[in-house]
C-alpha cells in the first residue's frame, strides 16, 4: 500500500544518485545561506528561487506535490506573517480606526513578512527535494554518518518503520467503527478517543514483541549497522557548487 507518509519519489535523476551525506550537506548550506539573506533583498530571493526551481526540475518532482507539502509548513509561518505588517512601523500604507484603537499597516512589517514567507517556502521546497530524492533509510544512514547520535537515528528509524504499520492498524480500526457508526457528534468524538487508546495499547504490545525479536537476534543495547556509503567526485562537485552558488547569492544580496 502506498502511504501518505511515503515521501520518497522513485527515480534515477542526477539528484537521486547522489550520496545522502552530500545531499544533506548541500541542502543544509542552501537553507542556512537562504536564512542569512537580509530582509527585503528581493534580488537574492529571486536568484534563490531560480536555484531551488532548478533543483526541482533536475529531480523531476511535480510542483503540485511540493505545494501540497507546503500545507504542513504554512500553519507555523502564517500567523507570524499575518501579524507582522501591523506590528512594525515604517511608512503608513493603510490605517483604520476601531473605537480607541488604531490598526496600522506599515511597509517595514510588510517587507519583513514577505521575506519570512519566501524563506519558509523556499526552505520547504529544498527539503522537499531532499526527501523526495533520498530513501528514508539512506537519509538516516547519512545523518548517522555525519555524526548524529546513533540512538536518535535508531529511534527515528523505528518510528518511520512502524508509522506504516500503525497507519494500517488505524485504517482497520476506523473501518471497524464506520460499519457500526450511524452518526451523532458525541458518539463520534468518543469513538475517536477509544480508537486512540486502543491504538496506543496495540502499539505498546507490539513494542514488547519487537524488543523480544531484537533480543533473540543478539541485541545487547548497542545498535550495529553497516555503513556502505561511498562518496564520488559528483557528490563533492555538488556540495562545492551548491556552497559557491548559495554563499555568493547570499553575499551578493548583502552588497548590491
Amino acid at each position: 500500500m502506498r502511504s501518505s507518509f511515503d515521501l520518497y519519489l522513485d527515480g534515477a535523476s542526477l539528484l537521486h544518485c547522489r550520496d545522502p551525506r552530500a545531499k544533506l550537506l548541500a541542502m543544509l548550506v542552501l537553507v542556512v545561506a537562504l536564512v542569512l539573506v537580509p530582509v527585503g533583498c528581493w534580488m537574492a530571493f529571486g536568484l534563490f528561487s531560480l536555484l531551488v526551481l532548478a533543483l526541482v526540475v533536475v529531480a523531476h518532482i511535480p510542483l503540485a506535490r511540493l505545494l501540497r507539502q507546503l500545507l504542513v509548513v504554512l500553519p507555523f509561518v502564517l500567523p507570524a506573517v499575518l501579524f507582522l505588517p501591523f506590528l512594525h512601523g515604517g511608512t503608513i500604507l493603510w490605517q483604520v480606526k476601531m473605537g480607541g484603537w488604531h490598526l496600522t499597516l506599515g511597509d517595514t512589517g510588510l517587507v519583513l513578512a514577505g521575506s519570512i514567507l519566501l524563506k519558509a517556502i523556499l526552505s520547504a521546497f529544498a527539503l522537499g527535494v531532499l526527501v523526495a530524492t533520498t530513501r528514508m533509510a539512506d537519509l538516516l544512514r547519512g545523518v548517522d554518518a555525519l555524526g548524529a547520535p546513533r540512538l536518535l537515528t535508531t529511534i527515528f528509524g523505528f518510528m518511520y518503520r512502524y508509522l506504516f504499520v500503525i497507519e494500517d492498524e488505524a485504517h482497520r480500526l476506523r473501518a471497524g467503527r464506520d460499519v457500526r457508526y450511524y452518526g451523532g457528534l458525541l458518539i463520534g468524538i468518543r469513538s475517536v478517543g477509544h480508537m486512540a487508546g486502543s491504538l496506543f495499547i496495540r502499539s505498546y504490545d507490539r513494542a514488547e514483541r519487537v524488543y523480544g525479536a531484537m533480543l533473540l537476534r543478539g541485541y545487547d543495547g548497542t545498535h550495529r549497522s553497516l555503513n556502505s556509503l561511498r562518496v564520488g567526485w559528483a557528490d563533492v562537485l555538488m556540495v562545492m557548487a551548491m556552497t559557491v552558488l548559495a554563499v555568493s547569492i547570499s553575499l551578493a544580496g548583502r552588497w548590491l
Partner: protein, 237 residues
C-alpha cells in the same frame, strides 16, 4: 544427543491464568515436530519459553544438553531460531538488508561475512532481489520469507516457526511448505493447519489447555479423527 529436551514445564501468567501444565517432550536431530492445538492451548507460550523470552517457573529446558538459564541465554538463542507469527514484529529495520544483517552483525561477524550471510539467507527464501527494499513495500508472503531469512542468517541449529501459514493464501502456503521442506535440520512448527503439519512433520504433539494430550508419529495422530475432534482440530461427526 537430543537437540531439545523439555521436562515438566509449567507456567502461570501473572494474572493467575495457567498457561502450561507439566509439558514434557523432546526433539531429535533429524525430526520435525508439529505442535497443534486449538486457540489458547498454550502453544505460543511454550515457544516463548524455548528462547527464554518468558521465565521458567517450574520444570526445565535443555538445548543440546545446555540447561536454559539467564547465564546461557545468549548461547541458546544462537542455537534456537524463532520465527514470529507476525513478520511486522520481526522486521524492524528500514531495509530488508539491514533486517537480515541485524543478527549476523550482533554475532560480531566481519563485513564480508555479514554480506555473505545476508545474501545466502535471502537466496534460500527466494528473496535475493529485495535487498534494498523497505519491509512496508513487501506483501505479507514476502515479509514472512524475509522474516525467515532474518533467522536463517544467524544459522540456528533448531528452527522454530510460530503459525508460519497464518493469513497466507493457498498459493503462498504451498510455496512456504516447499521452502521449509528444502531446509534441512530439525524444526518445530506450531500450527493449526493440519495439511501443513501432515506435509512437514515427522512427529506431532497435540496440546490443549496447556497440557500435552498426545504425542506420536504424524500418521497415527493425524488419522485419529476422534482425538482431533475432541480438541477442536476437526469437526465433530
Amino acid at each position: 544427543m537430543k537437540i531439545l529436551a523439555v521436562c515438566g514445564l509449567s507456567y502461570t501468567y501473572p494474572d493467575g491464568q495457567p498457561a502450561l501444565r507439566d509439558v514434557s517432550f523432546s526433539v531429535d536431530e533429524g525430526e520435525t515436530l508439529a505442535i497443534i492445538g486449538p486457540n489458547g492451548a498454550g502453544k505460543s507460550t511454550l515457544l516463548l519459553h524455548l528462547v527464554g523470552l518468558l521465565p521458567i517457573l517450574a520444570g526445565s529446558i535443555k538445548v543440546l544438553d545446555i540447561p536454559l538459564s539467564i547465564g546461557t541465554l545468549k548461547q541458546i538463542r544462537r542455537i534456537v531460531g524463532l520465527v514470529f507469527q507476525n513478520p511486522d514484529d520481526q522486521l524492524f529495520c528500514p531495509t530488508v538488508f539491514d533486517d537480515v544483517a541485524f543478527g549476523p552483525l550482533n554475532l560480531g561477524l566481519s563485513l564480508v561475512e555479514v554480506r555473505q550471510a545476508v545474501g545466502h539467507a535471502l537466496e534460500m527464501v527466494g528473496m535475493a532481489g529485495a535487498v534494498g527494499r523497505s519491509p512496508h513495500h513487501l506483501s505479507l508472503g514476502e515479509r514472512k520469507r524475509v522474516a525467515l531469512a532474518c533467522v536463517l542468517a544467524s544459522t540456528p541449529r533448531l528452527l522454530v516457526l510460530d503459525e508460519p501459514s497464518a493469513n497466507l493464501d493457498p498459493g503462498g502456503k504451498w510455496e512456504l511448505v516447499g521452502l521449509l521442506k528444502r531446509l534441512v535440520g530439525p524444526k518445530i512448527i506450531v500450527t493449526h493447519d493440519l495439511e501443513l503439519a501432515g506435509e512437514l512433520a515427522t512427529q506431532v504433539m497435540v496440546m490443549d489447555r496447556g497440557e500435552v494430550v498426545a504425542l506420536g508419529d504424524v500418521k497415527a495422530i493425524l488419522s485419529d479423527h476422534g482425538l482431533l475432534a475432541a480438541h477442536r482440530l476437526a469437526h465433530i461427526g
